[in-house]
Subunit: 323 residues, 2 copies
DNA sequence: CTGTTAGCGCATTCAT
DNA sequence: ATGAATGCGCTAACAG
């Protein structure tokens, strides 16, 4: 592998000059620049980014930490994140944490040692406490302790929107169904928006909201559904949870959307060209990724002002509602 | 950030000794090792991987190049690849190429400059020609020019298996439907296996196999289906293409699996805990990732012997067949 | 066993 | 405008 020294020798200049033309530094005479460029081509020289990173301590690398890439919401997010990151000439390291705090910390450690310039994370834990304050980090979807930058979708209004769409679909008695984490997260606002809008619109509603790690969840769900057999509209905490509810509904011989209208949250699709799997409150994933990357780069460049972004959600009509 | 020098000074030893304890070099007296470890803890020292990379030119990084992470087959593959890579203390850079040759080459260039130790790629192009021979690279799913290491599923026997499963399901007249790339790839063997097994089992069969980039594909598919309206079993080149066929079948008022049995290829799922989207010939994705990583690490360690792995596929019964 | 030293390839300051 | 020299933090060879 040719180095800068080789180029300098061949071009008959000093290494400093070569460095200057590589970095498009102004102060270099046209004629010498040409000489150097010729030598570069001749030797097929390409700069060693590692050496440069060591020197200027900027790796042009960011990391994306998420529970598992094998989930359409995260893989879509990762897709758009990588797109934006690579557009800026940076690279992206992917980290699957399985939502395990220990793994997250392990990754954080590794990333610090590798001098990544910033981190985008989707996690339930307060990982910001494990990274030195000079390592920019932005959280997506669920935020945590104060002072951490984040971008999220408007969960509260998403919950409200679901109620109104259910009403538009003619529902008279609706339900929210989902699970929640031990810790409070912004995701809880989906339920909150649902409840408050139900009250305000004066529609009868029921809530099923168990702890995520609970036992016999399917049994409890079925029991809830049997007890409230006259429910004609359901909103679930996310699309995947919706799939579980739908399975039980099938067992109970309820037809969707004939007997029951159904709205999920997230708006997952298996890929760009596939359909949404149900009617849903769609998170603006592409925009979320874009905002997160933008925010991260601002922080990398030293601007720590804009810290919180909440993006609007929208309703997508799928097969599980009529309108 | 504390450096090795700081640790050495605090511990009252030379930097060489610190390096030795970091790298678990044997020849270090117990007592001095303790001193050094104490200093490390005290300073909260953590090695700078970039400097080490520059020195020993081993970045402990591999790259995964694929068309788009936003596709369940690739995201599952990426999930397992990252798992295996991280298990060995390496990190993984993710590259979405959109199947574009220029983007692939761009990534390759960037990866070379960043001294990645190896590459796993899912691509239709002969990208090996753009990387120096000392950069290990293994190809997954579709292989290319001779001399490139690859792991693939047994496409040929997958095609045969599909025929036999269709027969088991009582089909009398079956069809293969799919598209193909301009270049020959191993994927073509799915069709080949289908044809040869159909002949050998003496069952009537039809083939629909257009070029991938063709025009009016849906129209052609519908026409094919109308012309062969008595077909009672279909095998598609992959699950996603199968989805497209199913849509047309619905339009034609064909019931699956009552009127027509249906088998896809790949075995995609939206995530670990979700169901397969149809009856399918499943690629052993987890194993493919494992083999690819293993092969790559062998090459990184200088062993260039084992180069080709073909993994068996298996049948998964979903909702689109009876047995 | 351990301290010292010479680079790894580059960016940058300081002369010139 | 440009060459020479210095050092980023680390490993490995060498000397003791």
């Amino acid at each position: 592998m040719a180095t800068m020294k080789d180029v300098a020798k061949l071009a008959g200049v000093g290494v400093g000059t070569v460095s200057r033309v590589i970095n498009k530094n102004e102060s270099v005479k046209e004629s010498t620049r040409l000489k150097v460029e010729k030598a570069i081509k001749e030797l097929n020289y390409t700069p060693n980014e590692i050496a440069r990173t060591l020197k200027i301590s900027q790796s042009k690398t960011i990391a994306l930490i998420l529970p598992t890439i094998w989930h359409p919401f995260f893989s879509e997010l990762a897709y758009y994140t990588e797109e934006n990151v690579s557009k800026r000439g940076f690279k992206m390291i992917l980290c699957n944490s399985s939502s395990k705090k220990e793994k997250e910390i392990e990754y954080l450690d590794m990333l610090k040692q590798n001098k990544v310039d910033g981190i985008i994370a989707i996690t339930y834990n307060d990982i910001d406490r494990y990274v030195s304050s000079n390592l920019p980090i932005v959280s997506i979807d669920r935020h945590f302790s104060e002072g951490v930058a984040y971008v999220t979708s408007d969960n509260y209004n998403g919950g409200k929107l679901a109620v109104n769409k259910l009403i538009e679909n003619g529902c008279k008695k609706i339900a929210f169904m989902g699970t929640h984490n031990e810790r409070n997260t912004d995701v809880d606002n989906r339920r909150k928006g649902f409840e408050e809008e139900s009250i305000s619109k004066n529609i009868e509603y029921k809530i099923f909201d168990e702890i995520e790690t609970g036992q016999d969840l399917e049994d409890k769900m079925e029991k809830f559904l049997r007890q409230n057999i006259n429910i004609d509209g359901i909103f679930t905490i996310n699309d995947f949870f919706g799939l579980r509810v739908i399975k039980i509904l099938e067992k109970l011989n309820k037809k969707i959307p004939k007997d029951i209208k159904f709205i999920g949250y997230d708006g997952v699709k298996m890929s760009y060209e596939q359909d949404f799997i149900m009617s849903t409150i769609r998170q603006p994933v592409e925009q979320m990724a874009k905002e997160a990357v933008e925010m991260l780069f601002k922080m990398i460049e030293g601007d720590y002002t804009s810290k919180k972004v909440k993006l609007p959600v929208y309703y997508i009509k799928g097969d599980t509602t009529i309108v």
